[in-house]
Symmetry: D3
Subunit: 331 residues, 6 copies
């Protein structure tokens, strides 16, 4: 079991524990000797590390390996970093990957069971059949439970995709209760499948990166292909429904400039676009609040997804706050 | 009681009934004689009308008057219009204005009672107190029940504003059930007040137009003023809550280029922006479908709010549609 | 054989010939009688037509039928139109569709043979194998020879797609001769396949329209599907080549706002984007010049594709023009 | 009295003087000991400072305090900074705040008297009455004389707002002399009040920051509220004038994307927008020239307000410059 | 002398007078006979005209000729038009062109003398020398007095350019009085020369049109050429001043997207851009007010230059308006 | 002859050789002593250098001088830099400037001869005459052979302009072979002259910078002037051809926002715009590939000209690549 985590390292102390190698670069110091400049990662964060005079070691590890290190915790330009004394690659069987990758607060298996249950409650028909083809494919299921929902913008952790979709399915049921003329099955199916391509667009077995195919083709077009392959397995999938479902997935970014080649042309497509966007932005805000909870003042740093600073929530809901002592400037 | 409605006029028939004068212009015919070119309106639509040789009449009516006419129903360039034989102004006491203005399908009084009930269920505090100040002001209540939500884009009929807000309050409760960290009272208050300025921005006692103040200042800034005046009546309204509520109202259009001078800077502001936008667009789509329900083909005309043609809903929900006979092009 | 063409109709004359029905609408005249308002089409253009008192006829024809008419050629608001005396549907076996649809100046069969020859000259390998899978599929070939390249912007006629592609293949060979580091086979394959989805996006067996699937999904995504289906039939199609080819097709519009979900990320994708855009715009200009060749003055009407008026070419190339009599304002 | 100023510190020398604390952060050095990383400020600029081994001190001061320091002036990465030997908080009564805040070259009291004189020369009427309500309110006057006109873009110093407005009032009188159909009183009133909200949007008693209300609501909306409150105190303020004045203030940024919820809809609104923008940009340029007057070459650094580098003025006006020795490249 | 003007024609009357032929098109009537569809122009406006059965006439006139007509004044679709009985070309010597072209209210000769006087008051030096080279060139002077400032946006009448420049020179002197660090001679010279290219960009001897060279090259680049030719005639024109003056002219539209290939990079360029833009927009507003002075209501039609409707000025300046009877909604 | 080049310096070694001074700044070290911070350049790249305790030297050299140095090669933050022991200015006669400036792989003299040969093959006429006026002007020819095509975006090396133009002339001949209706002489002339202003816009005798005139006026407007001067020397240059040629040069950036004051209005202008843009981007990509050829992974760094990362070419053309071992995810 992993002994210490990035989040808990104290400047001035010593540490012996394991990390994932995120980046590794060989550099030359001013005195001409070689050193390794590393970035290490575990589930709680990342930290820079230096291995001085590295040529006297046998640094038999690469990016994405897990290593055991002994190191001193120092501070450089206000940020903690490790000065390594020992480093060696761990054996694969010693590694619990979940110790090294960020993950969410909910259990992906539980979320998946809940989604599957919701699918089975749907009225029988081509959409339910399609969903079962997808969510009974073990290779898809394995990746669907692990994938992050994005590289960094929101839900950027193991299990992030299924958390995001689980939230959306509940929102989708709510919106269909409210607007009874919406086609509930089409909306739920679209929400469950809209980001299916993410499981191939991103590499997430170790550090998160785009796959080359992901960067060249993108998750929308990759997801459409995966959905088409499963629709073909459903006998007599209705042609108009086929086109509508493809359209909802293609248009779910809402605008051409956000990478959707078509903009929503009917109600269900519009609703899926809005729910997806809202849930992503709410989660991006939530993460920003968490990241900046120790930052002094009322405001977070600039949030990249929204392009602006955010006002932090009050410690207690403002609508129940005690009255201000003096509101003279208002009256 | 009004005898006939625009929607039911048959080409070739004669009609005697009442209309509201929407526009009136005196023109000269090719033969040099004067005629009146009119647009008439009732709750079901508008129709053009001509009064030939009008100088022999005493056309003692103006725009926004209600008149009684006898006329033949003709067709000009494919569109029905009236050739007037008689026209005279009605006495005010004969007029039920609801016969002449478009209105929605729900009873504004019922909707209002329901909103008031929801307000009274809120926990006591400054926001509930503010809402009661607003919704117990009889002049506001009278206009709030009548106002359309927009000139033409969505809910453009008597009672449209309160229909839109009633829908939003339900959506707001749903979204707060889903994201428990949202401040429910702030969201509900914002939804109830975000378009309050509309009751002064638009003239809607007869034909809908912008008031001069509405066009110069706009409903956001006018609404902020009305809300400020009521907040001042609530003793010790908390200063931070005051600023947050103003921000949600100011930013509810979401982007500077849509006329909000600030963009949403915390979760509640973001949620209000998305719900308002979604409900407006869903309703704009619904109206387009209704307007084009007799138009041949699968597509509506170009919807001005969305800037594109819409695919009509299938006659039965597509997800239950019978399988297409041949889906060979897909497999 | 068709007796007369739209282009040759003379006001004041009578005509008996055949046309395709492009639009048909029943309207009511001022006198209450019904008439048909039609738009007729042949390979040289379109003309409006009226069938007065149509209820005494049995108008047993619909849009997209071919009819035989007897009519007088009149002028209405400066534009010729037909006043129909007789109209009857033709039997299908009498119809040569090419008489009724606009077509280009080159023979699609000849162009196709030439493309096939070029494909067969390519070095053997997965791309040639893929192209043969596509261009030996008889259903694809049939449509590929007929399809227009666009609804109206450029090459908007039967055979327009294959004319456009034939031009591009020659340009592609030229550009690869010039930049020897480009991958010629990838560029040629991409040019041949980039608009493959057009054969399903557009309906062109009679009047040109978007198919519902075409409008919902678009030719890029539809073409990708068709290419994927054929790539799967090529044994061991290399994975990286697969991704690159998809990327070139996806990105051939060059920018997100033009409907490409990815922008060109390597040289071959960039080159295909530029050649396609250049050839389309040159052809759009050529058509504008032809349409406005009788328009007085040096300038065409506003070209929709380019958003501006065009300077017409000089009657003889300007670079050989005789010197201006007085160029005093220049010296 | 303050002994030395930031502008005059010489690397290699020692200094004992007072500064305002602008930022303060506790950090850990490589050797594990704690130090304070500070930014110090006076009316001539800012300088970084380090207090090493700070735990042996009692650093009983906070941001916005004034401190007395003894320090050595060093250079770090080409920039001077202080290495502190002693630091202690000053007593409030010793402090002349004007020593620590940047201020302009003109005396705000003199400028204010001049504005008041101009107001009193206006013809009596509701606008003059309104201006007197505003400029005889001592709390407003106190802040109006101190406020900067912007955080950093232009006139970013104590007294900057009143300098900007004084310049505008003169420009406004000039423009009304030139275009006699403009409403002079409306223009002058608008110029005097257009940025009134700035006195609450910004905190400027110590370091300049946005207030939370300023960031959430903005100076335009805050200023409108302050003006409305004063208009209500003027008996029978004409309704149309009220709306016009609000419109000029709301629209003075000229475009929605610059934060004005309305764009100028009559001449006076347009003129106020142009004069405000011109005076701000001229001053932004003037500051850039001053900041870069020792920078080698003809060009300034990139100006953030204009988004480009500026050509410096010639040492003597170019129109009187001696002729170039050789202008051969021009002839 | 011209007997009647477009502005004064009364429906139902007869008229015999002269007009300029603006457009002329031969069409065929429903009955097969030919007619001429004309647009006629004089200094007060334009009117449509029809010459029926034109083949029995000898219509020996062309666009830009002046003709004498006898006609009846009719109304077609609410707009007056002429039904011609006689039409014949006038002899050139009978024509005072000023009767047929719109012109402003000020005398171009007087304005020119005033500009020349201002130039002569400038301190001697290269800029004054340049201006004298330009404004003592008789061919330039002749056109400079006649040219409109724009095709339609503002000052679109004979003498419009010199009115616009005269206004700008006064504004320029004012701005230099206000900002004493500006280079007055550079600003005045730039204002006098910034639109010099307009005298060749537009044809204005008869109806206003763009010249082919004007449309291909544009007045900025054409004006630069004319200024360069004159600068070369000034001995030893200083090189830096040469570049600055070119820059001010090139950048006077302020932004790339408005056709300036460079954006203002020093104060004088910025000031010229703002003054030119302000004077053009004020004049565009003034023309709109005049055009819509009989339009009912407070608002003009949409102004094309500003892209919005304008609030008309009050009949008396609002700042002196009587108080509104009830301003209860404000308090 | 230069002994060593930047590209070949080894950390830890010593070096004695010559460099061009690119930047030079005097700074103060932490210990109070002065040092020089330099950037040195030769034809293979640039390197930072420090001269410690510089006051004991007599640093009698300036930016753009060539110096001889003795130095140790160190590494600072992962990048090599020089610690200078000796530095002295070289005498001008010892310097071969081509050792210090980046240059392309082709010989400008050879390229120029080839262009001249192509010009002489053109049919005689005003365009050939113009080209000979330009390319027989020795001052133009000297600079034309040296100029880079851009500061940094593409062909940013000595001889870059003539390489770019040589490529374009070949492309131009190809496009005219393909589209026979294009005016070949106009296209070739435009390609040869479109960037003529670059030879004055940029300073390139030492380090590349914009000239002040270049930054104020720009190469398009400067080039137009040079072309006009030469056109005036061709007797009876046809007026329409003059305007067309100016238009092609003015519009060759294609869009207003890229600095062209006019957008292409006929085919030849469009073709020149596309060829220029394509050749620039292809070369920008080629340079990026070369710069990043040792960078690990499939992707380059972000290319500034295109605003995105580029996929590197495969080591062998992908269309001939061996099949992927497993393409299971595709089938």
């Amino acid at each position: 079991m992993k002994e210490s985590y990035v989040r808990d390292l104290k400047p001035g102390s010593s540490v012996t524990t394991t990390f994932l190698i995120r980046t590794k670069e060989r550099k030359t110091a001013r005195n001409g000797s070689a050193y390794l400049d590393l970035e290490l990662q575990d589930s709680t964060g990342t930290i820079k590390a230096k291995l001085w005079d590295c040529d006297s070691f046998d640094p038999a590890f690469e990016v994405d390996d897990v290593v055991r290190v002994s190191a001193g915790v120092e501070v450089y330009q206000g940020t903690p970093q490790l000065s390594l004394r020992k480093i060696a690659k761990c054996r694969e069987q010693e590694i619990a990957l979940s110790d090294y990758l960020p993950h969410g607060s909910q259990d992906p298996d539980v979320l998946f069971e809940s989604l599957l249950k919701r699918i089975k409650e749907m009225p029988p028909g081509p959409l339910q059949a399609l969903l079962l083809k997808v969510f009974e494919d073990p290779e898809i299921v394995r990746k669907y439970k692990l994938a992050p929902a994005a590289m960094s913008y929101h839900h950027a952790y193991i299990g992030g995709l299924i958390e995001h979709v689980s939230s959306l399915v509940q929102l989708g049921d709510g919106i269909c209760d409210h607007y009874p003329f919406l086609d509930r099955e089409l909306i739920l199916t679209s929400l469950l499948l809209h980001d299916l391509g993410k499981i191939e667009e991103l590499n997430f077995s170790r550090a998160f990166t785009y796959s080359t195919r992901g960067q060249l083709v993108g998750h929308i077009s990759m997801g459409i292909e995966m959905v088409r392959d499963k629709m073909r397995l459903v006998p007599d999938f209705p042609s108009e429904l086929w086109d509508r479902l493809e359209h909802v997935i293609l248009s779910h970014h809402g605008k051409l400039e956000f990478g959707s080649p078509k903009e929503p042309m009917f109600m269900e497509a519009l609703a899926v676009n809005y729910l997806d966007d809202l849930d992503s932005k709410i989660e991006a805000m939530r993460q920003q609040y968490e990241a900046d909870k120790d930052r002094p003042g009322n405001w977070t740093a600039r949030n990249r997804a929204l392009g602006r600073e955010l006002l932090k929530p009050p410690s207690e809901p403002v609508s129940h706050a005690a009255p201000a002592k003096s509101s003279s400037s208002k009256v």
